[in-house]
């Protein structure tokens, strides 16, 4: 049986003894302003610590800070090029009271504290897309491949001063820059022991585990019970190419992976869905979580799910047996 709350093996959250079970996400908070509009314009990344939830707003070039019960508290940053300012930030992570921001259009990484005070930063020779801090001296930055120069490395490991330490992760390349970019959708998720997972967004079900130096530690194939969704997308010369969408967004919590399953939209497209698949260490489908709304971004903390809906509203859910 799955248990929510205390779980088994002294873990909080979901615990598996016989797969797969089904859960429902009960909404406990929907954060909106007094005039009914959401606080967020385009939320692209979520991160949390013991007491707060940090949401990166790409459109408004800031980080909106909420209590973990979903109450808006304060803003960090604004549009600009100075210290503590952002321009189209696209990645966020938190580690030991420090927020790491992939400041995309400024081509730099910035580190601020949880009150927004600038701590450090460094330039990178590309537009940083996602960021993961494995330690103060191990910051992994993901780039979007340009698609112009053949295969490119998409993972770049830096120390705290911005010194490049390693590069890994060859991009897919077929001379079709649009299709290639859709194929090169990857997510980085924190694992234990300073390691991390690399999860494909499309055309693959292998989840890689890498160490802080970018070395591949192992690969886990996600069970066939978890279905990829196929869609034909426009390609060069009027042709169509098939993309197998694996996950829309994902999160990790205590070595479990939570994959947001893509879903058909009313107009036949494939978009964010209303189901989260819980994947165990061996790649098995441990549970599914039914959401009341389509979510575009998720973060999971025990039996709490923080999500962003398609209108950029912050939603908070608790897991319940279905």
């Amino acid at each position: 049986m799955l248990a929510i709350g205390l779980g088994c093996h002294n873990q909080v959250g979901i615990c598996r003894q016989a797969p797969p079970l089904h859960y429902a996400a009960r909404e406990v908070k929907r954060e909106i302003q007094a005039d009914g509009r959401p606080y967020l314009s385009r939320a692209v990344a979520l991160a949390y610590d013991d007491s707060r939830l940090f949401v990166l707003d790409m459109e408004e070039d800031d980080i909106k800070v909420f209590s973990k019960s979903g109450v808006f508290e304060y803003l960090i940053g604004r549009k600009g090029q100075g210290p503590g300012e952002f321009h189209l930030p696209s990645g966020l992570d938190i580690l030991a009271g420090r927020l790491y921001v992939a400041d995309s259009a400024n081509r730099r990484v910035q580190v601020v504290d949880t009150k927004g005070r600038y701590l450090s930063g460094f330039r990178v020779p590309f537009s940083p897309h996602r960021i993961l801090a494995l330690g103060p001296e191990r910051i992994v930055v993901m780039s979007l491949p340009s698609g112009r120069d053949g295969q490119e490395r998409v993972l770049h490991g830096f120390d705290g001063s911005g010194q490049l330490l390693w590069e890994a992760g060859d991009s897919f390349f077929s001379r079709d820059s649009v299709y290639d970019l859709m194929r090169n959708r990857w997510f980085m998720l924190r694992a234990t022991r300073g390691e991390f997972f690399l999860v494909p967004g499309a055309n693959g079900r292998l989840i890689r585990r890498l160490d802080a130096d970018g070395a591949l530690l192992g690969e886990t194939e996600v069970t066939e019970n978890y279905l990829s969704q196929e869609i034909d997308i426009p390609a060069r010369e009027g042709k169509k190419r098939t993309l197998r969408a694996f996950c829309w967004n994902c999160a990790s919590d205590r070595e479990r992976l939570f994959l947001l399953v893509p879903e058909r939209t009313d107009d036949g497209d494939l978009g964010p869905g209303k189901t989260i698949a819980v994947i165990d260490k061996a790649g098995g489908l441990e549970a599914t979580i039914a959401l009341p709304e389509r979510l575009t971004r998720i973060a999971v903390d025990g039996n709490t799910i923080f999500g962003i809906d398609i209108d950029s509203g912050l939603r908070i859910f608790k897991l319940e047996p279905k």
Partner: protein, 76 residues
């Protein structure tokens, strides 16, 4: 005669260099701006959370705009 031809060629050479260099520098600066804008366009499209087909079309528009921008027809 030879001297006149040499002087003429030298003048033509220097004129062409001085006339071409600013254009080349300007073209390169414009191309850099085009690629910067292209990266922003792709980043916005990629983070848009539109459906996959819509995102693909958006990315295609980014590529088309880059081509036009580099050729100098318009700016992104």
């Amino acid at each position: 005669m030879k001297r006149a031809i040499a002087v003429t060629l030298a003048v033509v050479f220097f004129l062409s260099v001085f006339l071409w260099l600013p254009q080349s520098s300007s073209a390169r600066a414009r191309a850099d701006i085009c690629y910067d804008d292209w990266e922003v366009c792709r980043s916005r499209a990629f983070q848009s959370d539109e459906g996959i087909i819509k995102t693909t079309l958006w990315l295609t528009v980014c590529d088309l705009a880059l081509g036009k921008c580099v050729l100098g027809f318009t700016k992104l």
